[in-house]
């Protein structure tokens, strides 16, 4: 069990070992969450690094209104959401470049099952909706925790969750209940 207060004090005092300990405690969890949200190893590493760099930069302003873990998760989610907006611009440019350079994309070779369709539907959700659906229905966070991570009121998060789930049901509409 880490002593958060002690680690925070150590980091603020410039102690590398305190920073390392804090990182080792939270990085695996943060990385797993970030990877779940972005689905790309390089991006997940980049956003996880960004999370800790930003966290160390802002640590003096951490007011302990939430746990350190929740605070770190909030920075991670914020980094993902803002980062994915930029990634989409890159991918638009790269797709145009791929077209110009005649790079092909291999089509699906087999009929997708329900889980494949759900995966595609999740991938296709807007980032803000997908984040809430994943945090609530896949990761199991409460509405209150999600609101703190996403930086939006609980009501807004619940609305996004309902909207996300409605879109998923719509996308899976072809598959009848067994």
């Amino acid at each position: 069990m880490v002593d958060e207060a002690q680690l925070i004090a150590g980091v603020l005092a410039g102690e590398r070992t305190a920073g390392r300990e804090l990182y080792e405690h939270y990085a695996p969890r943060i990385y797993r969450l970030v990877y779940r949200l972005v689905g790309d190893e390089d991006l997940a590493q980049e956003f996880t690094q960004d999370t800790f760099i930003k966290a160390f930069a802002r640590l003096a302003g951490f007011r302990r209104e939430s746990s350190l873990g929740t605070w770190l998760h909030a920075i991670a989610v914020s980094s993902v959401l803002s980062g994915m907006r930029r990634v989409k611009r890159w991918r638009t440019r790269e797709a145009a470049l791929d077209e110009a350079m005649d790079v092909g994309v291999s089509p699906h070779s087999s009929q997708p099952d329900l889980k494949d369709r759900l995966r595609e539907a999740l991938d296709g959700l807007p980032d803000k909706l997908r984040v809430v659906v994943l945090l609530h229905d896949v990761e199991g966070y409460t509405h209150r925790e999600i609101a703190a991570m996403v930086g939006a009121p609980e009501g807004t998060c619940k609305t996004r969750l309902a909207e996300g789930r409605a879109r998923l049901r719509g996308s899976l509409g072809a598959f009848a209940r067994e």
């Binding site: 410039g14 990085a27 960004d50 003096a60 999740l122 229905d137």
Partner: protein, 215 residues
């Protein structure tokens, strides 16, 4: 049609199969974080004398952001007959003239960042045709990328022209950071494209030249 319970059940099952991460390279990731945060000369710095250290990480962001904020009013449309914009205007994508204000030290900090990023990109533009990059390129780009993102996240309002430039700098620096040890033609091509298409270096040079112009 899938009902709510079925969807809830399916989504819960996705925990074991949807985007499940492999073991990340924690050590490599830590080295980069450490270089940004704890190395001498890293920004933000920790371990300052007691009265400053609690405030420095926030102050670093605010100072950099404020430095850009000081540039903001001069880059927008002219607000009165006494204020002039020399050179280009935001409408043609060229940042307008920077006029030094009372907050000169803050403007100096933003200028330092712009000088560093310009130097890196100019060196890179010279080296990319050969496909060989100096070893420090990625390290420097990583540090500048972190600063760029802090500036972009600054609570200060940023002029759209500066925001666009930061967006483009972020894009290019992120591409550089992702370069493998021996970049191939495709990776180099993407960087060239980003630099050329958005006139990143000319815009940086214009901004710096105006910022250095004496009153």
């Amino acid at each position: 049609m899938l009902d709510d319970q079925d969807l809830t059940r399916l989504l819960a099952q996705m925990r074991e199969s949807y985007r499940v991460a492999k073991e990340p390279p924690l050590e490599a990731m830590w080295r980069r974080i450490e270089a940004q945060t704890f190395a001498p000369g890293a920004t933000p710095r920790l371990g300052r004398p007691a009265p400053l250290r609690r405030w420095f990480p926030l102050a670093a962001t605010l100072v950099l952001g404020f430095g850009l904020g000081q540039l903001v009013p001069r880059l927008g449309p002219a607000r009165g007959p006494s204020e002039e914009l020399a050179g280009g205007s935001p409408s043609d994508g060229i940042p307008g003239r920077l006029v030094s204000r009372e907050g000169a030290p803050f403007v100096g900090i933003a200028s330092h960042y712009l000088e560093q990023v310009t130097a890196l990109l100019v060196t890179l533009a010279g080296d990319t045709p050969s496909g060989r990059l100096p070893d420090y390129t990625v390290v420097q780009a990583r540090a500048l990328l972190a600063t760029t993102r802090l500036l972009m996240d600054s609570p200060q309002r940023i002029d759209p022209a500066i925001r666009d430039l930061l967006d483009d700098l972020e894009l290019v620096l992120a591409q550089i950071v992702r370069l493998p040890d021996q970049p191939g033609a495709r990776e180099v091509y993407f960087i060239d494209q980003a630099l050329d298409q958005r006139d990143v270096i000319p815009r940086l040079r214009f901004l710096l030249a105006d910022n250095r112009r004496p009153e």
